[in-house]
Amino acid sequence: MALLNLKDVSVAYGDNVVLKDFNLNIKKGDLVSLLGPSGCGKTTTLRLIGGFIQANKGKFIFNDKDYTKVPVHKREFGFVFQSYALFPHLSVFDNVAFGLKLRKTPKGEIKKRVMEMLDIVGLADYSKRYPKELSGGQRQRVALARALVIKPDLLLLDEPLSNLDAKLRVKMRVGIRKIQKELNITTVYVTHDQEECFSISDKVAVMNEGVIEHLDTPQNIYDNPKTEFVANFVGFENFIDLSLQSKNEDISTYNSKNGRVFKVKSTNINSNKETIKGAIRPEEIKIVNKGGDNKDENTLDGIVGISTFLGKEYQYMVDTEVGKLLVNGNTNKRYKEGEKVKLYLPKEKMVLV
Amino acid sequence: SSNESKGEDVDKQEKETLIISTWGYNEDILKKNVFEPFEKKHNVDIVLEVGNNADRLNKIRMNKNSDVDIIYLASSYAIQGVKEGLFEEINRENIPNIENIYEIAKAPLGEKYGPAYTVNRTGIIYDTEATKEKVDSWSDLWRDEFKDNASIANITSTAGPAMVLAAAKKADVSIKDDYDKAFEELSKLKPNIVKTYSRSSDLVNMFTQGEIKIGVAQDFAYGRIKDALPSAEWVNPKEGAFANLNSVNIVKGSDNKELAEKFINFLLSEKVQKANALDKVDSPINVNVELTKEEAEGLTYGKDLINSLQTIDYEYINSVMSDWIDKWNREISK
């Protein structure tokens, strides 16, 4: 049974409807991420669950009780705000100790738990500072510690790591995940960082304009997104119009407009339309060779355009017969602008939406 | 009278309380000379209500159950109180000391009401050093030399109406016949007037700061001005200074009437009058009080002086006051 259950919820700011007949179920102990473009309603969803805004209609069930009208402070949820919302008049220690003090935790234990938590977020030396005297990332970590230390029934995290550098972010997310697992705290997590999202979540919900388009395990979302929006959002940068040729249980065959043949794994077909889009990530396209046989399946010819260095790889804009495609290539060899290349699009890596 | 005031214990049942409404000045001296001896003598508690004439009169006017037993007022206000029937009639037989006071003080409000317990003068004070010629008449106020250098009391203050009377003298009209003339005369005084004051402390200030060279004032302000400005002189104008009589009355509804009369009698007694005179709080009105020249300095003292004073018909003035204020506002102090 679901621990948390949002049923046909609608939320509007004035006339501006943000969530419309929104549904979400979360199992006890799960960490569900909300992923979606800026302004799609992630924060709104969290605020709704947290009780800071009221739904116009619909219900919120938590732990089999109707929580729709339960006041915020009775909810025992931990919340990390996108804007931190630290108490400016309290020191870092007191900010974190705030929730514990309210729970009448003994002094000694407060001290112990707060310092433990500050240690986890790497701010043990900063306990006497005031929020104003901290850097952006430090503030964010205080906000995180403040929410975690009370071991809430439900943890609501709104981009809790957005202002941290890569290494620290990894460290923090590992920390969050560990605590979350240990205490079995059900968690709703909003992030815009996909790697973070995929590595930390039990389930990912991809939102678009106030609606969840795809709720699934990270692996499934990553490999096999159900809609074009989701595919695009999780990094399938390249879309090729295809029309069905023949469908098989294992492998199906499609044609591109210019007559190229594409074989695709049938489990990757997520739509029954006749003309469909084949989606593939830049890093899954292989640059095979200059020129070569035009008739090969799952290949395209193209000319290299501008390129960007991404650290691990180069990313090329390749002009092909079916339009511009983004292709990543490793750093062993850098292709020059104008070079002719052949691209190979592996059939397991193409998703049809 | 019952006592609901805070801070005053009513623990001893038999001890009565006398509530006296008075000005709030020289309280320490009055306490020593008047209130405490009386409290002792008659085994009562005296509770004071303080404020200026208008405030206190207004309060007993509006609040018929105000508990106040005795009220001190300047003449102009006392007369209003009489007219509105705010005071008890007194039994003069219970106040034998009335016989020992000067004639003008015996019954300024009529036989039925309280006597005056002190008198003071309204005259002129000027800075002799800054002035070319001696000042000895009300008319001297109009001199060009005092342009922008004079101050007179506001019409609404105790010494105010006297100025209209002085103007009438200057214009040589009888006030009751034609006060318009007096006001015409007053508006000729206007260029000289820096401001009209309503607190005597304000006047003292103007003298000491050099804002004015001449001012119309009550005599009790003179001492202080003289201290600050040794060249200041007091003038009893030759037309006569104006008398102001402060009287005491029993407030209607007082249930301590007898005690109140005893108090008035006590207040008029030679001993109290002398003590107050020596402390320079009130000029003595009891004819038996004898003072040396130094002791009399600054007081309105002596038969001759008191008899030379012009009295003011407040009953008449009160009847035209509202018109006077209006005229005053429009012509003198805009």
């Binding site: 915020v72 402070h73 | 509530i19 303080v50 309060k59 202080r224």
Partner: protein, 261 residues
């Protein structure tokens, strides 16, 4: 600090000079030998200060003034802070109207208000003088409390409040431990304004005083009606001194987190 330009500093110094200089004159007079205001004074003397203690009424009315100001301000805070909070925290119909309403006591010439209260409370309702005085003061200072506090609440970031609530603090608790500490200066400003207004009030007190119940300003007014020695100046200096000491003690003993606890 680079948030303050030189112009601003000079300007503020000038404004403070304007505010403080007359007080210097008053202080000088209070300890001067002259029996009128003179600057610079001639000689030095404690006689005016000593004089205050000669006049018993100063002491007695001072106590009453303090009582009324403390109780009145306390009452007004009790009534005003919740109202201010609602008025600035929530948007609702009639909010502007209510805001205007709560401000109205300062719009009314105090003398008329005092007179009306005398007629209504003391004469008609037969309230004791002391109670009437307290009520009158509470009413006139309420606007200071409400407006000053709600204007500082308006620039308060309410997400902080939400954070506290999410950590399990009830609304009321949140108000006391989170909202209040962050508008401390507003509250202090309101308190000071209200207190001083009550403490200094003349026009209302005039009507609402009675036998044995009078306030210091009324007493001072009566005093300056006839006297012009620096006793009142000395009294003012003493008042300033006491305020300074009081604030110093609050600062030292309770610190600025006074309201947090």
């Amino acid at each position: 600090m680079n948030t303050k330009s030189r112009f601003l500093t000079i300007f503020s110094v000038l404004v403070y000079t304007f505010l403080i200089f007359p007080l210097v004159i008053i202080t000088a007079a209070a300890f001067g030998a002259n029996d009128y205001l003179k600057f610079p004074p001639e000689g030095f003397s404690f006689k005016w200060v000593a004089n205050i203690f000669e006049v018993e009424m100063f002491i007695r009315t001072f106590k009453i003034s303090i009582e009324i100001a403390v109780f009145g301000t306390f009452l007004a805070l009790l009534i005003g802070i919740p109202a201010a909070y609602i008025l600035s925290r929530y948007q609702f119909k009639g909010r502007n109207f209510l805001q205007g309403l709560f401000l109205s006591p300062v719009l009314i010439p105090a003398i008329v208000f005092g007179f009306s209260l005398l007629k209504f409370l003391i004469i008609k309702m037969q309230f004791p003088v002391y109670t009437s005085l307290l009520i009158g003061h509470t009413v006139v200072i309420l606007p200071y409390i409400i407006r000053v506090i709600s204007s500082s609440l308006e620039s308060f970031d309410y997400s902080i409040e939400e954070a506290a609530v999410s950590l399990g603090a009830g609304r009321i608790k949140t108000f006391f431990i989170i909202v209040l500490p962050n508008i401390t200066s507003g509250v202090i400003a309101a308190f000071i304004l209200a207190f001083i207004n009550s403490f200094n009030n003349v026009p209302i007190s005039i009507f609402l005083t009675g036998p044995g119940v009078s306030t210091l300003p009324i007493q001072m007014m009566s005093y300056v009606e006839y006297y012009f020695d620096p006793t009142i100046a000395a009294l003012s200096v003493i008042l300033m001194l006491m305020t300074a000491i009081l604030m110093f003690i609050i600062e030292r003993t309770l610190g600025l987190s006074f309201f947090t606890k």
